[in-house]
Amino acid sequence: MDMSKIPILKTIAWKVSDGYVVIDSYKGQLMLNETSSLIWKEIDGNKTIAKIIEELYEKYKDNNNKDYIEEIVYDAINEFEGYDLVMLNLEDDMDGWLQYE
């Protein structure tokens, strides 16, 4: 996965319920586990994957090494992409809208 890509949410209908993210997607409702919820909440359309990893590592470095954080972020973002919940753009990508077709 390209660390310089920026994940962007493709839905606005989501909420946090008892610490877990619940998403209302066109495929139905999904509930993320605690770890995926943390990663989901970091996606703001501005941060690159590298930045998300860095920020999560800063928060949780006492109990986790960076490789582990990297792995769970990759897995989660892959899964979000698989469910068509995020798209990945490059920061300087001006042609991003072509993906909407």
Binding site: I8, L9, K10, T11, I12, A13, W14, K15, V16, S17, V22, D24, D44, G45, N46, M87, D92, M94, D95, G96, W97, L98, Q99, Y100, E101
Partner: protein, 445 residues
């Protein structure tokens, strides 16, 4: 003939893709179309490109610029696409270094200095652009021999790296003097579905969350009934049955009763068969007007209700009464006009309770009237009254990043509600949003 290229940038996020769905209507931005029409009438050659529809890659755009050699490129800029506009301008300047770039539209009007401070922006047009861009073209075309930049009201520019801000230009008081938009400036064969027209500028309302006053001033200016009728007739002749609906995009189409009465009289007198939709306010509607509008082909009306709490509406200076709103919605529905209702969450005076009141009100309206509902998040755009007074209003912005100022994401919190509270209410409302079936059915009748 000197050329000018007018660009409307592509949508910025995936969620907005439905707003530019060509299947329901090809509607290149009315702003750049209006400027293009005005410039062409005055002897210039406009090239109008709405990148929401003409999804050309940046490399293709650059090729087109090199081919057409315009003397000026104008970008229509909103707060949410400001960074994108700068990025694109940087690329254009790199590829075509001598080209001049002007920013216009809502964000440059509200934040002109922020725009002009950027190296890649040569000029900024504040407020209405027709006369300002025309005079700018004259200045550029003549090397400032016929008119100097300093003499152009409404313009910001840089002279030897010093920013010069000219006086604001007065609004166009008589909109009937403006030409009717020349649809041929875009790809005329792609028109169909619904087509947008604009018949006024500004809004008589003074709601505190709205940017209309900051953008269009404290005046409400209108085209007369003949001008509107002629444009509708023209569209009918040009596109025939390809047009399912004409969408009048004015904030409050029916604000001046005499104008709307005369407009309806014209439709009846000439028996113009056309379906149309407009936006209006609850406080300027009545039973007789709704009956006549229905008979004249109005198939849908959009009302901004904004909240299900009367207390919140009063604080927002919305000027509507919820009981009256229910009555007007009922009458609209009875007249077989689809009611489109818009709401916002996250007003400065909202609480968790008032947002849930809004949600339950939305639920009620959905079940009772199958209303088309839209819910967005209150967004104080930089330069607006709400933004300037945000501290006093107790609003905290959770981001400075403009590309999140899209109305589709909560960015405000107060002591009385959080971002999560807004998400939770929106999540509940989601199932009632964007119900299109009733509208399409009525359109077929």
């Amino acid at each position: 003939m000197s050329k000018v290229m007018l660009l409307h940038l592509p949508i910025l996020n995936y969620i907005q893709k439905d707003f530019v769905d060509e299947e329901s209507g090809y509607n290149p931005s009315l702003g750049i179309m209006a400027l293009g029409t005005y410039l062409e009438l005055n002897g210039y050659k406009p090239i109008v490109i709405d990148m929401c529809y003409d999804r050309m890659k940046v490399s293709e755009l650059i090729d087109r610029i090199k081919l057409e050699k315009p003397i000026l490129i104008g970008l229509s800029v909103y707060t949410e696409n400001f960074y994108q506009a700068l990025k694109l301008s940087r690329i254009i300047k790199k590829e075509v270094p001598d080209i001049k770039i002007v920013f216009g539209g809502p964000h440059p009007t509200l934040q002109p200095n922020e725009c002009i401070e950027n190296e890649e922006v040569d000029f900024v047009i504040m407020k209405e652009g027709e006369s300002t861009i025309l005079e700018l073209m004259e200045a550029l075309g003549s090397g400032e021999k016929t008119i100097r930049y300093e003499q152009i009201p409404g313009l910001l520019f840089k002279r030897e790296n010093v920013v010069v801000k000219n006086v604001l230009r007065k609004h166009i008081l008589d909109l009937n003097l403006l030409p009717i938009i020349k649809r041929e400036l875009a790809d005329i064969h792609r028109y169909g579905g619904f087509v947008n027209i604009s018949t006024s500028r500004g809004c008589p309302g003074r709601c505190i969350y709205c940017s209309a006053t900051s953008l269009s001033g404290a005046t409400y200016r209108t085209r007369n009934e003949y001008s509107i009728f002629m444009e509708m007739l023209l569209l009918k002749i040009m596109f025939g049955n390809k047009i399912l609906k004409i969408y009048i995009v004015d904030d409050t189409f029916t604000a001046i009763p005499n104008r709307i009465t005369k407009f309806l009289d014209l439709i009846f007198y000439y028996d113009l068969e056309v379906h149309w939709q407009c936006e209006s306010r609850i406080d300027v509607m009545d039973e007789e007007l709704l009956y006549r509008m229905h008979k004249a082909g109005c198939i849908a009306i959009q009302y901004g209700i904004e909240s299900g709490s009367q207390e919140v509406l009063n604080k927002l200076k919305k000027g509507i009464d919820l009981e009256q709103a229910k009555k007007i919605i009922e009458i609209t529905h009875k007249n077989r006009i689809v009611t489109c209702l818009s709401f916002m969450l996250g007003h400065y005076c909202d609480t968790k309770e008032t947002m849930w009141q809004t949600a339950y009100f939305i639920q009620e309206l959905f079940h009772k009237y199958r209303a088309e509902l839209a819910v967005s998040f209150n967004t104080p755009f930089p330069g607006t009254w709400q933004f300037i007074h945000r501290d006093k209003l107790g609003m905290r912005l959770v981001t400075n990043s403009y590309n999140r100022y899209s109305l589709l994401e909560p960015i405000v919190e107060t002591d009385n509600f959080t971002i999560e509270d807004q998400r939770e209410v929106f999540f509940f409302c989601k199932k009632f949003i964007g119900y299109h079936e009733s509208l399409s059915k009525l359109g077929e009748e």
